[in-house]
């Protein structure tokens, strides 16, 4: 059942090769050529972070800015349809959250290319003034704030995997900053060398799985007091062990209670005698079902919503530990966007 290491490596390489077309315009209120500024176009790695574009964007829009000398690159922030984008999330996650694109599936090459065109290139706005301090943590000229946020996230994922922070604490200073550089440079070999120090060997199970679910809510309009309005997305996380142990009868019963009308839930073979307890690897479906049972009444089939990772619908049967090993973002986390169907 477990995938070959070569398969995992090839999935990881595909993810690191993934790019998004971005079309970035300057906020009209900051442009001396109101509404006429050419967009900055780039094919940008999905796993990268938006602020790394700021030096290039500041240079590109220099002559368009009303007061170019007043701002530094690190004053820059991004918005999509008036939603300020959290820079500490990789751009691929932000796209999956906000762009409204249908995720790729095995069959989507033929059927949904037209809907893809509607959301690509992803049209973003860059601002260099009016930092939304109630919504975004400010950046600094040296990039220390981004580095700190990245390493805190790496530490958190490491703690979840191992139950201690000793792994990341024992990482040399060179390797610690090397990990951030490898992600910034999209340098997969350098990343893998350092991650192999952090990740337990495949024979050694994780303590828990670093996975977060993102439930998008309708974007809220900017207001003067954003702290009083509801957040535009809900992030859900709870401790997820790599295997689940269920009494066989209980798992069957709960499924039949939750989903009476759905046919053929039990795979062939469950009718044969079973031990009273069975332990199985946590799948994407079992995690979603345990955390969001109303949205994911079945562990096997997406009924009301589907999980999206790196722009693709993740198979419900995928082992989460394998997904963590090959499909995590650079900080070690699997960020799954829950997308409503229909």
């Amino acid at each position: 059942m477990a995938m070959e290491q070569a398969t995992l490596n090839s999935i990881q390489k595909t993810i690191w090769d993934g790019h998004l077309s971005l079309s970035i315009t300057l906020a009209p209120s900051e442009s001396r050529k109101f509404d006429q500024t050419d967009p900055y176009l780039i094919s940008y790695p999905r796993i990268s972070y938006l602020p790394s574009l700021l030096p290039r964007l500041k240079a590109f829009f220099h002559s368009s800015l009303i007061d170019p000398a007043a701002y530094s690159p690190h004053d820059g922030w991004f918005s999509f349809e008036n939603v300020a984008l959290k820079w500490h999330y990789p751009v691929g996650l932000l796209y999956d959250l906000y762009a409204g694109a249908d995720p790729a599936t095995k069959s989507s090459d033929t059927e949904s290319s037209s809907s893809k065109d509607a959301s690509l290139p992803w049209r973003l706005v860059v601002h260099f003034s009016d930092w939304p301090g109630e919504e975004l943590v400010r950046l600094d000229a040296q990039g220390m704030v981004m580095h700190d946020a990245f390493i805190n996230s790496v530490k958190e994922a490491d703690f979840i995997r191992n139950g201690t922070a000793k792994g990341i604490m024992s990482l040399s200073k060179d390797d610690s900053s090397g990990l951030w550089k490898a992600v910034q440079d999209v340098d997969l070999p350098a990343f893998q060398r350092i991650m192999n120090i952090l990740l337990p060997s495949p024979s050694q199970p994780f303590r828990n799985l670093p996975i977060r679910l993102f439930l998008p809510l309708p974007p809220k309009p900017s207001s003067d007091s954003p702290s009083d309005s509801s957040p535009s997305l809900k992030v859900i996380q709870s401790p997820i062990p790599p295997t689940i142990t269920l009494p066989q009868s209980q798992s069957q019963m709960s499924q039949s209670i939750i989903l009476p009308p759905a046919p053929s839930r039990n795979s062939p073979g469950t009718g044969s005698p079973q031990p009273p307890l069975h332990s199985q690897p946590q799948t994407i479906g079992s995690v979603l079902h345990s955390i969001l049972p109303n949205l994911f009444p079945s562990r096997r089939t997406p009924v009301l919503a589907k999980p999206v990772l790196h722009g693709a619908a993740v198979p419900m049967s995928a082992s989460v530990e394998e997904v963590v090993r090959c499909s995590a973002y650079g900080d070690g986390w699997v960020y799954i966007v829950v997308r409503m169907m229909g």
Partner: protein, 236 residues
Amino acid sequence: MPPSSSPFGRGTLSIFPFLAEDEFEGACRALLDRVHAAGNANPGWSSIRLQRNGPILKISQSFPRGSEDLQNDALAQPLDQQDAQDSRLEACEEDSEALVRTSDTDETLQVDYDIVLSPSYQVPVLYFVLRQADKLLGVDAVYRYLVLDRYRENIKSVGIMGGISFGYHPVSGTPAFFVHPCNTADAMRDIATGRGIISPETYLIVWLGLVGNCLRLHLPSNLFAEDGNLRLESNN
């Protein structure tokens, strides 16, 4: 201190030195009950409440700017002498109006603490924002007004608690400071060793002594008037 003298009731912690979600919520409720029971006693806080979405134990307090001159010993006491007039305590659950802005003057600082159980570290984490006239203040002001001298070097040098970062609040998604929690479990284990069985509430109170004290979040001593044997300050 003899282990048997714990005054905070019974109850064992299932994953000590970590704290489970139901234990965290129970601890918050027990602490709220204790504040209720203290009645008119002034804890120096302008509000304390439990928000079910999270859950989050939310504590607010205001103090006059300039009181950093009263560093150390004076601040180890509740702030009741300093802003008695503003300390309207509201201890209630699910009260959306519980947050009391105690003063509009520019000379008053307000700090809003949110205590959240981290699902990653499985320990409570202290998030907070510091405001002056509704404007968010930065890390320099945090160190100046909230961190006592005797903890400053410890925190800045990534000492026992691993420092203060500016990040995103896990529930509201808005920017907030937090005390990095990756060493909290080890510290809790060190402190609790020899104290025998500790209850969820004791865990939270010890944690507040460990983390809150560094950031001017002091448990009012009168909450424990009858429990003279527990001196949280001695943990630091």
